[in-house]
């Protein structure tokens, strides 16, 4: 056992293993993910936002965000640069999200979780450019309609909707991220928007 430089992992690893790992790291081709701190600084906000709006749970979103960057780091050698870093990270996040939301445990904790995001929490962040209380109320209603509608969408529709209208990806980027044809992406968006239009129209009739 060699004396370590304060690294608890190094303290438990024989010197030969450490040197082999370091040599393997030297041999591995350089990837953008070698500087993970910069990658996290650049993309954490986007990945977290996508996961938060998708899961509507702060704890799960934080956990999955960290897991996304961990996966990106561990599989960084498989990044072929055939897509952008953002798309690659988003694809990892999407896979993690899909795996996580499939479980029964997620469905239980989603009902029980205190970290669940409520629309009232989000409505406090409506931009207040217009100080008119009436307009602010209308904006809150509009947000509530979209918020409720997004919750009713299927998992795939919701993902595509968020990628388009929150992350502002174009259809080709969404197709690359989700692995779906552009036509499928478009039809999912048409259906999601049809539901939103229906809710808008019924809400307008109710207020009249």
């Amino acid at each position: 056992m060699q004396p370590s430089n304060g690294d608890p992992v190094a303290a438990t690893m024989p010197a030969q293993v450490i040197s082999e790992v370091l040599t393997a790291a030297d041999r591995a081709p350089a990837t953008p993910f070698d500087d993970l701190a910069s990658i996290v600084a650049l993309y954490e906000q986007r990945i977290f936002r996508f996961l938060l709006i998708s899961t509507r749970d702060n704890d799960i979103a934080q956990t999955l965000t960290q897991e996304t960057f961990l996966r990106a780091w561990t599989s960084r050698t498989s990044f072929r640069e055939d897509c952008s870093i953002s798309t690659w990270l988003m694809r990892i996040a999407l896979n993690l999200l899909r795996d996580h939301t499939r479980t029964q445990r997620f469905r239980f904790w989603k009902r029980a979780s205190a970290a669940a995001v409520d629309v009232s929490d989000v409505s406090e962040h409506i931009p207040n450019r217009d100080s008119s209380p009436e307009n602010h109320l209308i904006a809150k209603e509009q947000l509530a309609i979209i918020w409720d509608t997004v919750a009713q969408l299927s998992r795939r529709q919701r993902t595509i909707f968020i990628l388009r209208f929150v992350e502002e990806l174009d259809l080709a980027e969404i197709a690359t991220t989700t692995g779906l044809p552009i036509s499928t992406v478009k039809s999912h968006l048409y259906r999601a928007l049809a539901i939103i239009r229906g809710r808008h129209n019924s809400s307008s009739k109710d207020t009249l």
Partner: protein, 171 residues
């Protein structure tokens, strides 16, 4: 799907505008769409409402997520703000307590209640006195002479004065 009205934009046309997939600006379709929007207040209003709603959703979601991430970094841990106040946690805690206590309650009920012995009600001073008495009694029993049936047999070679003869007994 919204029914198609010949006087208004189709759902697909409206969606294409929202998705920024309108026809090319130099195409005739683009000109027709713009012409329709300029003349149809219903389509213009609906399009504006949808745009506003989607924009509000995006801005509020972005701002909220940004704030949450900052809080996470500042705190270093997830904010347990409302966790403790959730009724489901209290219900789960109560259920656990009941589950833990219930078996003991059952076993306690099943065992017959033993009469309270007088010894348990004796004061400590009395207890020590009785203990001493008991020890004294044990000591006396230990130091007591060996009971006659267990005494060794008399030596037959001993003098007659020690063991009275049968004839003297008869007398």
């Amino acid at each position: 799907m919204t029914p198609h009205l010949p006087d208004h934009l189709t759902h697909e046309e409206l969606c294409d505008i929202l998705l920024a997939r309108s026809p090319h600006p130099l195409s005739s379709d683009f000109g027709a769409l713009q012409q329709h929007l300029a003349n149809c207040s219903a389509c213009t209003t609906e399009l504006a409402n949808l745009r506003t709603s989607l924009s509000v959703f995006r801005q509020a979601s972005t701002s909220y997520a940004q704030q949450q991430l900052i809080q996470f970094h500042v705190a270093g841990t997830p904010t347990p703000s409302k966790t403790i106040l959730q009724p489901i946690y209290w219900a789960a805690a109560a259920a656990l307590c009941i589950a833990a206590v219930f078996p003991f309650t059952l076993s306690h009920r099943q065992t017959p209640t033993e009469p309270i012995s007088s010894a348990s009600t004796i004061q400590p001073a009395t207890t020590s006195q009785s203990d001493e008495a008991l020890l004294e009694e044990v000591n006396q029993e230990i130091s007591a002479p060996i009971p006659s049936p267990m005494q060794p047999l008399a030596d037959p070679t001993a003098s007659p004065a020690v063991t009275p003869s049968i004839s003297s007994q008869r007398n």
